[in-house]
Symmetry: C2
Subunit: 228 residues, 2 copies
């Protein structure tokens, strides 16, 4: 029995956390099936068994692992075929990439998505979500959700990805790998929320369509929130 | 006979190109000795044998290779022990890191270093250097060399590196590797020009001292231009 605990809004059908999508893509890569266990933002009890409060959590038989990159490492140890990380050095480079994309890609998309997330949450989750995020951001969600600033930050984030993908189909080269899932998770975040704030007609746009097809071939149609 | 063709200014003793430093560090990593062939900016004849005009060029017996990452690949193929790239996926992740650091680290340092470079070039090289760079930048070197903008861009570039180095001694993990040399080349660029525009007392500051010691243990003292 393999279960993935992942974030959902009011509807348990739409799961949208970027870190959970990393794990969904990693499971597709390994050819492993799983049962989705959608968890609402404030439902901390559902994760108590993992000894911490954050999704994603993977329960694989007797083993419980949380944190997307720790789950990648567990999957490589337990199912060594088709490495996700590429060993210790490969993992270290993924962590470096993760630090580098934290400057523009993650916050740029979050600016563009945050009000959309708010409307899709269970009504009881909205005020706790707003309070915790506004405390971190030091401003109201409405002030943070500046579309012009978000689009500029995202455009900047897409430049190096477009450059990397100009000469190869996947961020990791000829085949999809850990870097594609690490970064792809952020694109699935937007996509599942019913948005696509990057240009369709670009190397990144073509790459995302490949990644979506890769995922849907293995796990069936990706459920999206209705477009506004 | 192994020769590294690398960029120098008026003095052939001080070599400062960041891409050439990548290769010097890679040669230290592999434990390979070499003879330095310093080349002045406008001395394109010196590189004619390589069929192109850019340093670094490595001549290893009958083989001639240019471009820092192509040289890493050649070294891994010819001297497989202690891989620099970590195979095709590792190389692809290094190229992604290279794209990501091209946004702030390289231009931030270039702003801070460009006028220093100009004074260290052979007098005959200064005008051609100015013309080609000003054409690329679309402004005068003096306008580009805005110290406040350069420091802000560099501070932004150091954040993800500090985060990566907070928990491990090298960018590539427990041992220095390709990512350390790829990025370290930019720090040797500043260092050899007699500058150190990053905080000594920071994870990056400590990492650079380790990288400098690693290099000097294997290749002797690093020659720096006199501080201004």
């Amino acid at each position: 029995m393999r279960e993935l605990y992942e974030l959902c809004g009011a509807s348990p059908e739409v799961v949208f956390s970027p870190y959970c999508w990393r794990v969904r893509l990693a499971l597709a890569h390994k050819g492993l099936d799983f049962t989705s266990r959608p968890v609402r933002v404030t439902d901390k009890e559902a994760l108590a068994f993992s000894g911490q409060k954050l999704v994603p959590v993977l329960r694989d038989g007797e083993t419980v692992v949380h944190d997307s990159l720790a789950i990648f490492r567990y999957l490589d140890e337990q199912y060594p075929e088709r490495s996700l990380l590429g060993g210790a050095v490969g993992e270290s480079r993924l962590r470096l990439v993760d630090q580098l994309i934290a400057q523009d890609l993650r916050p740029g998309l979050f600016r563009l998505l945050v009000l959309r997330i708010l409307t899709l949450l269970d009504p009881a989750d909205r005020e706790p979500f707003r309070q915790s995020r506004e405390k971190n951001l030091g401003m109201t969600l409405e002030a943070f959700a500046d579309r012009e600033a978000g689009q500029a930050q995202l455009a900047r984030a897409l430049q190096p990805l477009d450059a990397q993908l100009a000469g190869q189909p996947w961020l990791d080269g000829a085949e999809p790998g850990g870097a594609d899932y690490l970064i792809g998770g952020f694109f699935f975040w937007a996509w599942t929320l019913g948005e696509q704030p990057w240009p369709e007609d670009s190397p990144v746009g073509a790459w995302f369509r490949r990644l979506l097809a890769f995922c849907e071939e293995r796990q069936g149609p990706v459920r999206r929130a209705a477009a506004v």
